[in-house]
Amino acid sequence: MLQQKSKKGAFLALVCVAALLALVVALENTLDPTKNILLFTSLKKGAVYALVAVSMNLLNGFTGLFSLGQAGFMLLGAYTYAILTIPVESRESVYYLYGGSAVKFSLPDLFGGADTVPGLVLGVLIALILAGCVAAAVAWLIGLPVLRLKSDYLAIATLGFGEIIRAIFQWDKLGPVTNGANALKNFPTFSSFNITNADGQVVFRLSTFVAFLIAAVCIALIVLLINSSYGRAFKAIREDEIAAEAMGVNLAKHKRLAFCVSSFFAGVGGGMFAMFANQAQAKTFTTAMTYEILLIVVIGGIGSVSGSAIAAFLYVAASEWWLRFLDAEMWVFGIKVPFLRTGFRMVVFSIIIMIVVLFFRQGLMGSRELPDLFRRRPRKSPRKAGEHNG
């Protein structure tokens, strides 16, 4: 009975995701991208942040390990992706300060160059997977000492780790690999996936679709993990470490697994962030970025994957797009609206976040998932119920 229900649920989820992806393709090819640049920027950045937020939620929400190292793992992923995919011919110009790169190959070139379909798809795919692997490997190393720490000490140690990584990648001596403090660029981005004709004109846009596809596949993998026996062990650790241990959950092993998997997807997310931003630079991956992702997780509801994903899009759209009018001066009936000037958007935005944190502590979804909202009819309407819990 239960088996049947979950099979039906999985099928429904698959259909919904496919419909969403189809909608993205349709939107991208019907709307004029130059007029709707904010929409597509928000969608792409939202997809990246959704993945990273879900990966952080796996750690903070499902395993109860309060880690603040996400930006550091994203940095590792972004640099790994960039270093492996910059075409060989443009390495000279990117690394001009260091007289060329120490890495003499490029993954897309190995498969026939970034202009060909197999070169692009295989190159980017393998580079993203390797980006995740590097982040996961480093997480394993860091985890050996750090995961023995409890709650806030773990948070501070991982925060410190993020800062250390950033300093190392900006070091001059590593310049031939990391390009020092300068940005890495010219690697394949989301826009490289747009199909062009012989004249270089775009005939079919796929850039946003690719961002959504990668994020969707990764989030699906995380959901599968959460629903497996490992996921149940994670939740047991979150609820009570001692009880979980007594029940036979190997604490060290499961914590390490959660930390590595979370970092793997943060690394993939970092690679995607580099694709989104068209460059990878260590100074973008600051503690502020980790805080941003943490706030997304909180707004979405700690312990809800769909909540994190929805909150990521809302957060990015609000900060990049909807609240943008607050930054420009505005006149209503000849009177200048007070306070509106550059920076006001972020003030309003942070006040909204504080309100959510203080008064709607459950976030959008609490610990429920999207399908839960439709399944049973609670007494109140489902959205309201979530807000009252706070």
Partner: protein
Amino acid sequence: MQYAVSILLSGISLGGQYALIAIGYTMVYGILRLINFAHGDVFMVAGLMMVYLSASLPLMASLPLMLLLTVLLGFVIERAAYKPLRSAPRMSVMISAIGVSYLLQNLATYITGGLPQMYPSLPFLSESVTILGAPTKWVTVVTPVLVILLVLALTQLINRTKVGMAMRAVAKDFETSQLMGIKINSVISVTFIIGSFLAAVGSMLYFTNYPSIVPLSGALPGLRAFVAAVFGGIGSIPGAVIGAFLIGICESVIKGSDWSVFSDAFTFALLIVILVVKPTGLFGEKATDKV
């Protein structure tokens, strides 16, 4: 020799400034078990207030006003952002602190327009002096003295007065002290007031050494001061001061060597090593887990 003296002097002065911030962290942690991520930003806001107040008022008026407003800010933050979450899990309060820090930074960006603000040069503190052949500012000499005086006053307050006794009781056991008739909320408010006052004094000394303030100026000194507090054993005031001086000197030495990029990395590496080897820090109390 002269170079070594100047590095050591700047390290000691930096350490003193970190100590003033670290005390705020360590006291709040001792009582609320909360890492007050917004503390570094309160420090930055104090600096900005000084910039704006001294533009229109004489120093005699702007300095006390700045101290008063910073104290008020610390008080309001606690009442608005932390008090409603008193019974919530610790993680929610920490997230609220991160939210406040984000808000203060964005507010500062809005008010300054994102432009660096010139810190006013204070009479006496900004004037030059030569010690053992190393030229420096008076602030370098004043900082350690002032820090020691303030810490002595603080320890007197904590050990000799009624409110100090209440603080120690609350730090020991939150709920029992409440049952004993201690007004928890006022004790916590006093803690935040003291912390903000010391951060305001610290910001005056710290920013005198730097030409300008930006909205992110508070983040890194805040984190370093936090590391100092952990290093010394969080919850312990002498520990925080000693930790801050050590970290200040280390930073100054590394900044003067070829490894200057790694000054922050070193601080955090030290943090991780300390946390792993001796999580309670130099002087921290050993916490026992009750099952």
